[in-house]
C-alpha cells in the first residue's frame, strides 16, 4: 500500500518534470547562442532520465504496462502508455539521441559562426522535439494524438535536414522528404479511419483489436504497412532516405538512420500485436518486401560514391533484415511454429538495437571524416587511417558489426534469425521450407554483399595512399566527437560478447506476439557458447600477436615500397584500385537492377596516341526514378498545363457562373442529382 502511494506520487512527480521539460524547450529561443547547447543537454538528459526510468520500470520491474495521465486532449484526458515494446524502443531512442547530442557539440562548432542565434536555437529545438516526438510516438495510443506526434517527428527531422540550407540542393531534398513523410501520414490516417469505420470502435490502437477480430486484417494492415514503411524505408517506399540522410548534418543522420526510421518498424510491430488470425499473407508481404529491400538496398549501396548515401542505402538493407525477422515471425504464427516466431521476432527486435548502434557509429565517424575533408565523395579520400586513427578504428568496428561478423553485435541478431530458420526447417511443411530456403539464402547473400561493400568503403576511405590533397589537412577530431564512438563501441562489444544478458528483455518483448517463449530461453546456453568462442577467438589473436612480436624481435624488419610488379614509376595516389573499379564486377553482374551510366568517349578509329580522357559513373535508383520522380513530375506539369482558369478576363469569370447555373439547373430539373 505504502509502496503504491510512493509510486503514484513519484509518477505524478516525474510526469510533472516531463511536462516542464517539454515547456522549457521553448526557452531555447531566448538563450544566447553559446549556451543553447548546454540548455539542450540539460533538457535531453532530464527527458532521457525520466523516460528511461519509466521504460526500465515497465520492461524489467512491472509485469503490466505503465499508464500515466499526461495531458488534456480534445476535452478528455490523454494517457501515455508504456508496455514492453514501447519500453524497449524508448531505451534505444534515448541511447542514440544521447550519443548524437554529445557528438553534435564538436560537429556544430564550425556552424556557430555562420548561423545566427535563432537558427541555432531552431536546430537544437528541432533536435529536442525529434526526441520528444519519437518518445511520444512510442507512448501514445490515441490515434489522433499518435498522428500528431508522428507528423511532429517528420517536421522536426525536416527542420534538421535543411540545417545546411545554404545549399540549394538541401531545400529541394527537404521538401521531397516532407512530402513523402506527409504521404506516409496520410496512409496511416486512412488505415485508422478504415478500421474505425469498419468496427466503429474507439479511434485508437485499442480500437484496432475489435476490427481485426471481426474483419480480414490484410487490407488495413497493408495501408499501415505502406504508411509505416515509408518511414522505415522499405524498397520501393525508400526514395526519401538516400537523399535526406546525406543532406542532414551527421549527428542528425545518425539519429534519423539509427532510430527514427525504426519508428516505422515500431508502428508495424505495434499493429501486428493486435492481429491474431489470417497472418500468412501479411507475413509473406512483409518477407517479400524485406528481401527485396535487403538485397537491392545493399546492391545500390555498393555503387555509391557518397559515403553517407552509401550508409543510407545500408539502412535500407538493415531494415530489410529486420523485416525478414518480423516476416518470418509472423509466418511462424500463421503456420504455428513457435520457434520461428520467437527467434524471428527476437532477432528482428535485437537487430533494431544493433542497427541503431553501429549505424549511428558509422554516421558519426563518416561525419568526422566529412568535417575534416569537406567531401563525402570517397574517390577523393584514402590513407586517412594515418591521419585519424581513432575514427578509422571505430569505423572499422562499425563496418565489422554491420556485416554481422562475430564477435560483434550484428552477428548475434542475424544468428538468432538463422537459428530460427534452421530449427523450423524440420517442422515446416513444403511451403514453409521453400520460404525459409529463400530467406536464409537471401540473408547469406545480403551478408556477403555487405562484406563486399564495407571492404570497399573502408579501404577506399582509410587505407592505401591519399587520392587527393583534401586528405592532407585532415586531423583527428576533438575528443567530444570520440566519446560517443566509445560509448557505442562499448555497447557493441557487450552485445557481441555477452548476448545472453539481453535475452530476458527480448523474451518479454517477444511475449507480446506469442505466448510460448520457451525456445528463446533455450538459446541462452548457445549464446553462452558463442561468447566463449568469441573469447577464444580474441585470445588466439592475442596469442599470435605476441608470438609474432617475439619472433620478429630477433629478425630485422625492412621498409620497402609496395610491390609494383617491377614498374617503379608508379604514382601511389593514382595507381590504386578505386571505388568504381572495386564495384565494377558487381555492377556487371547486376546490370538489370542497377542502372549505372558511364560517361566515356570511346577510342576513335586509328587513334594511336590517345588524348586525355575522363571516365565517370553515375548510378541512379530505378525504383525511385520510375515510382516517385517521373509520376510526380508528370502530375505537376499536367496541373500546370491545365491551370487556365485565371485568365484575367471578366467575361470568362462570368462564363463559369453562367455555365454552372445552366448546367446545374438542367440536371436539377431533370432530377439527375
Amino acid at each position: 500500500m505504502l509502496y503504491l502511494k510512493i509510486t503514484t506520487f513519484a509518477s505524478q512527480m516525474d510526469t510533472l518534470l516531463f511536462q516542464t521539460a517539454i515547456l522549457l524547450t521553448f526557452a531555447l529561443f531566448a538563450i544566447p547562442k553559446h549556451f543553447q547547447y548546454y540548455w539542450g543537454l540539460l533538457l535531453h538528459t532530464s527527458i532521457i532520465i525520466i523516460s528511461s526510468f519509466w521504460a526500465i520500470q515497465s520492461l524489467f520491474i512491472n509485469s503490466e504496462a505503465l499508464k500515466i495521465a499526461f495531458m488534456p486532449f480534445m476535452g478528455n484526458t490523454l494517457y501515455i502508455e508504456i508496455d514492453k515494446l514501447s519500453a524497449f524502443f524508448i531505451l534505444v531512442v534515448n541511447f542514440t539521441v544521447l550519443t548524437g547530442f554529445i557528438y553534435a557539440k564538436g560537429y556544430l562548432r564550425p556552424y556557430l559562426e555562420k548561423k545566427n542565434k535563432i537558427e541555432m536555437a531552431l536546430h537544437f529545438f528541432s533536435f529536442l522535439w525529434l526526441q520528444l516526438s519519437m518518445l511520444l510516438v512510442l507512448m501514445f495510443r490515441d490515434a489522433l494524438a499518435f498522428l500528431i506526434v508522428w507528423e511532429l517527428m517528420a517536421l522536426s527531422s525536416f527542420l534538421l535536414v535543411i540545417f545546411e540550407s545554404e545549399k540549394k540542393e538541401t531545400i529541394r531534398i527537404g521538401i521531397q522528404y516532407l512530402i513523402q513523410m506527409h504521404i506516409g501520414l496520410i496512409f496511416i490516417l486512412l488505415a485508422f479511419i478504415g478500421a474505425y469505420i469498419g468496427s466503429g470502435g474507439a479511434f485508437s490502437f485499442e480500437g484496432l483489436t475489435e476490427y481485426f477480430y471481426t474483419h480480414n486484417p490484410f487490407g488495413v494492415f497493408f495501408l499501415f504497412f505502406v504508411g509505416f514503411g515509408i518511414k522505415a524505408g522499405f524498397i520501393p517506399l525508400h526514395s526519401w532516405l538516400p537523399h535526406a540522410h546525406p543532406a542532414a548534418p551527421s549527428h542528425v543522420s545518425g539519429v534519423m538512420s539509427g532510430v527514427m526510421i525504426k519508428m516505422g518498424i515500431y508502428g508495424i510491430l505495434r499493429v501486428l500485436t493486435y492481429i491474431h488470425h489470417e497472418l500468412l499473407y501479411i507475413g509473406l508481404l512483409i518477407l517479400a518486401i524485406s528481401l527485396i529491400s535487403g538485397i537491392l538496398g545493399v546492391m545500390l549501396a555498393i555503387v555509391q560514391h557518397d559515403v553517407k548515401k552509401l550508409l543510407a542505402y545500408h539502412s535500407i538493407e538493415n531494415i530489410g533484415i529486420i523485416g525478414i525477422g518480423i516476416g518470418l515471425g509472423v509466418i511462424g504464427i500463421a503456420v504455428n511454429i513457435p520457434v520461428l516466431t520467437v527467434l524471428g521476432f527476437a532477432g528482428a527486435i535485437l537487430h533494431v538495437l544493433n542497427h541503431s548502434l553501429f549505424k549511428s557509429l558509422l554516421f558519426f565517424t563518416a561525419g568526422s571524416v566529412y568535417q575534416q575533408t569537406h567531401t563525402r565523395n570517397i574517390e577523393h579520400l584514402g590513407g586517412l587511417i594515418k591521419k585519424m586513427p581513432k575514427t578509422a578504428l571505430f569505423f572499422l568496428l562499425g563496418a565489422l558489426a554491420i556485416c554481422g561478423l562475430p564477435p560483434f553485435n550484428g552477428f548475434i541478431s542475424e544468428f538468432l534469425i538463422y537459428s530460427g530458420i534452421f530449427k523450423s526447417l524440420l517442422p515446416g511443411n513444403l511451403l514453409t521450407d521453400v520460404i525459409l530456403l529463400i530467406s536464409f539464402t537471401g540473408l547469406a547473400l545480403i551478408g556477403g554483399l555487405a562484406v563486399f561493400c564495407f571492404t570497399k568503403v573502408f579501404s577506399i576511405i582509410f587505407l592505401g595512399s591519399p587520392r587527393s590533397d583534401v586528405v592532407a589537412h585532415a586531423r583527428e577530431v576533438e575528443n567530444t566527437m570520440i566519446v560517443p564512438d566509445l560509448l557505442i563501441g562499448f555497447m557493441i562489444m557487450v552485445i557481441g560478447f555477452f548476448p545472453a544478458l539481453f535475452i530476458s528483455p527480448l523474451a518479454s518483448v517477444v511475449g507480446l506476439f506469442t505466448k510460448d517463449t520457451s525456445s528463446i530461453q533455450q538459446m541462452i546456453p548457445i549464446l553462452n557458447n558463442i561468447s566463449i568462442s568469441s573469447g577464444v577467438f580474441i585470445a588466439l589473436i592475442g596469442f599470435l600477436w605476441i608470438l609474432r612480436a617475439w619472433q620478429q624481435k630477433k629478425q630485422l624488419l625492412k621498409q620497402e615500397a609496395t610491390w609494383g610488379c617491377g614498374y617503379t614509376g608508379a604514382n601511389p595516389a593514382l595507381h590504386q584500385y578505386t571505388a568504381t573499379s572495386y564495384a565494377d564486377n558487381i555492377v556487371q553482374l547486376a546490370k538489370p537492377v542497377l542502372n549505372v551510366k558511364k560517361d566515356f568517349t570511346p577510342f576513335k578509329e586509328g587513334e594511336i596516341f590517345p588524348e586525355e580522357r575522363v571516365f565517370e559513373t553515375h548510378s541512379s535508383d530505378i525504383m525511385e526514378d520510375n515510382l516517385i520522380i517521373k509520376p510526380s513530375d508528370k502530375i505537376l506539369s499536367w496541373f500546370n498545363k491545365i491551370a487556365v482558369f485565371q485568365t484575367g478576363k471578366i467575361q470568362h469569370y462570368l462564363l463559369y457562373a453562367l455555365i454552372f447555373l445552366i448546367v446545374i439547373t438542367i440536371i436539377t430539373l431533370l432530377n439527375w442529382i
Binding site: 485565371q646 484575367g648 478576363k649 471578366i650 453562367l658
Partner: protein, 209 residues
C-alpha cells in the same frame, strides 16, 4: 395590357442582340425603363398614391431617365467608337437571345405555380440570362455596364412576378443599390478610361498569374 408591355420588353432584348451601336444600348435601356413602368402600372390592382410615386421614381425617373443620362455622359467621356464588334457575330447573338427566351419559358413551365405569372417569369429569367450573355460577348466595359443593367431590369421584373411580398424597405434598398452600383461603376469606367488608353477589357488583364 401588361402582356403587351412584357412582349415589348422581350423584343428589346432581341434588339440588344441586334444592335451594335453603343448609343442604341442606352436608348434601349431607357425604353426598357419605360416599359417596366407600364408593366407595373397596369399590374397594379388599385392605385395607392405612395406606391404610385415610388414606382414612378423607380422606373421612369431612375431607370429610364437618370441612368441613361448618366450612361450617356460616361459614353461621351470615354468617346467610344460608335460601333462595337462583339466576340460573337450578331447572327448568333439573336439566336442566343431567342434560345434564352425559350429556355426560360421551359423552366417556368417546369415550376408551375399559381403564385407567379409565368409570362413575367419567363421574360425576367430570359433578361437575366441574356444580360449575362451580353456581358460575356462584349469587349468594352461600357457594354458590361449595360449588361449589368439588363440583369437588374430582369430582377425588377422578377420582383413583380413574386407579387408584392418584398418589404418596402428592402425594395428601396435594391433601388438604392442599383443606383449606387451604376454610379460607382460608371465613375470607375471613367477613371479607367483616363488611366488606360481605352476601356477595352484586354487592357484589364494584367492579373492572371
Amino acid at each position: 395590357m401588361t402582356l403587351l408591355f412584357i412582349i415589348l420588353y422581350a423584343a428589346t432584348l432581341i434588339y440588344f442582340a441586334l444592335s451594335e451601336r453603343v448609343r442604341m444600348f442606352v436608348v434601349l435601356l431607357s425604353i426598357q425603363g419605360a416599359l417596366l413602368f407600364g408593366v407595373v402600372f397596369f399590374s397594379l390592382y388599385k392605385i395607392e398614391l405612395f406606391d404610385f410615386i415610388f414606382i414612378l421614381i423607380e422606373t421612369i425617373m431612375v431607370k429610364s431617365i437618370i441612368i441613361p443620362w448618366f450612361l450617356n455622359k460616361v459614353r461621351k467621356h470615354n468617346n467610344l467608337k460608335r460601333v462595337h464588334e462583339p466576340f460573337v457575330p450578331v447572327f448568333y447573338s439573336i439566336i442566343v437571345a431567342v434560345i434564352s427566351l425559350l429556355f426560360s419559358f421551359l423552366v417556368s413551365n417546369y415550376l408551375k405555380e399559381n403564385q407567379i405569372h409565368t409570362v413575367y417569369f419567363t421574360v425576367a429569367f430570359a433578361s437575366v440570362i441574356f444580360g449575362l450573355y451580353f456581358i460575356i460577348i462584349h469587349k468594352n466595359l461600357f457594354s458590361h455596364l449595360v449588361g449589368y443593367l439588363i440583369i437588374e431590369n430582369g430582377i425588377f421584373l422578377f420582383s413583380l412576378t413574386v407579387g408584392s411580398v418584398m418589404p418596402l424597405m428592402v425594395n428601396l434598398a435594391i433601388l438604392l443599390d442599383v443606383f449606387m452600383g451604376v454610379l460607382v461603376l460608371g465613375t470607375f469606367v471613367n477613371r479607367i478610361g483616363n488611366t488606360f488608353d481605352s476601356i477595352e477589357i484586354d487592357q484589364l488583364s494584367k492579373l492572371k498569374d
